[in-house]
């Protein structure tokens, strides 16, 4: 993990054992580990299939990420309890 002035925090993604996408994409996803699981600043929960999406950089409102597990494109939006994923049908 590294962070420079005015820059977003960056993350070194590791394979968390998510086996539902081809190997080279696995580091971008992990399973939600129960109700006590908390998301890191570079993570977003897919509202369609409930997989945790991971980015190599800290997420901000307006970012777009992909859930490969369910073929969905999401926009990062502010929610009541942190960031939420809004499905973009594009």
């Amino acid at each position: 993990m590294s962070q420079g002035p005015q820059e977003r925090r960056r993350y070194e993604l590791d394979d968390r054992g998510f086996d539902e996408v081809p190997p080279k994409y696995r580091k971008y996803y992990r399973r939600l580990e129960g109700s006590a699981d908390t998301l890191a600043p570079n993570e977003l929960l897919c509202p369609v299939c409930k997989v945790v999406i991971r980015s190599a950089r800290e997420l901000r409102e307006g970012d777009r990420v992909y859930c490969m597990a369910c073929l969905t494109r999401l926009r990062v939006a502010a929610g009541t309890a942190g960031y939420e994923g809004v499905v973009e049908y594009t």
Partner: protein, 258 residues
């Protein structure tokens, strides 16, 4: 793009969509969780000692699932012909393969449980509501109604199966649990495909929502009630059964068909 320089989330949407609808993507995805699991589970898992009532309940649930997967197999295969473009046709070809595998592993599970004639058991135990759903789904396919057929199959049916299999897997024996969790991994792609494809069409043609309201009113009770009864027979607490339609309702809400 090499793996070292890949930033998945920076891909253009059209590149992402083309890739995730492909057979190449499907092959790379399923290898991770199907390899080494003949008929959906590791061979070294021990068969639990069911009493007669437990076995009966499980056989009935599996028969309902088999009917659901049969209609999904017939539906996905039929949808290929009426799909509006090549990526959808190719994705549906992969879904058809998935549904065929689901049916095969569920029938095999019935055999493992000592059911001598699985096809006869499925026909005898299948709920009338699910039979009615099958008739309507196949009618939409036969008349070429892409939106209604896709909504019925990949939103209503797949979402219900996704929820039921999740809840059943929590309390299932180790073999059934592993089999169901493998199916769930396929279902993620199917529900996502249905919602995203419909969402794209509705964003361009919002007038299509009205007929989908009617499809929903007619068909979602057939599937949701049937699977709620299945969970009740399996002893799932009422509080968990009430959650059955939650994800489905969220999906139709995002599509504006709530």
């Amino acid at each position: 793009m090499s793996e070292s320089t890949l930033d998945l989330h920076a891909l253009p949407p059209e590149i992402f969509l083309e890739h995730v609808h492909s057979f190449e993507f499907w092959l790379g995805s399923v290898q991770g969780y199907l390899a080494g699991r003949p008929y959906g589970h590791h061979e070294n898992l021990a068969e639990p000692a069911f009493d007669d009532a437990e076995r009966e309940r499980l056989v009935t649930a599996l028969c309902h699932y088999c009917l659901g997967e049969t209609m999904a197999l017939e539906g996905a295969g039929g949808l290929i012909r009426i799909a509006p473009n090549r990526p959808c046709k190719i994705f549906l070809a992969t879904q058809t393969v998935d549904e065929g595998r689901h049916l095969e592993v569920l029938v095999h599970r019935l055999s493992e449980l000592g059911v001598a004639d699985p096809q006869r058991e499925i026909e005898e135990r299948a709920s009338p509501a699910l039979r009615r759903f099958r008739e309507r789904l196949l009618a939409f396919v036969a008349t070429g109604d892409w939106e209604a057929a896709l909504f019925a199959q990949n939103v209503i049916l797949e979402a219900a199966e996704f929820a039921v299999f999740h809840r059943h897997a929590r309390s299932a024996d180790p073999i059934t649990r592993e089999l169901l969790l493998g199916i769930i991994k396929d279902e993620r792609r199917h529900i996502g495909f249905g919602e995203n494809e419909l969402g794209r069409r509705l964003s361009h043609r919002p007038e299509l929502r009205q007929p989908l309201f009617a499809v929903r009113r007619e068909l979602d009770p057939l599937v949701l009630d049937s699977f709620a009864q299945t969970l009740a027979r399996l002893g799932t607490p009422a509080s968990e059964r009430a959650e059955l339609g939650r994800d489905y309702l969220a999906a139709v809400g995002r599509l504006g068909i709530a």
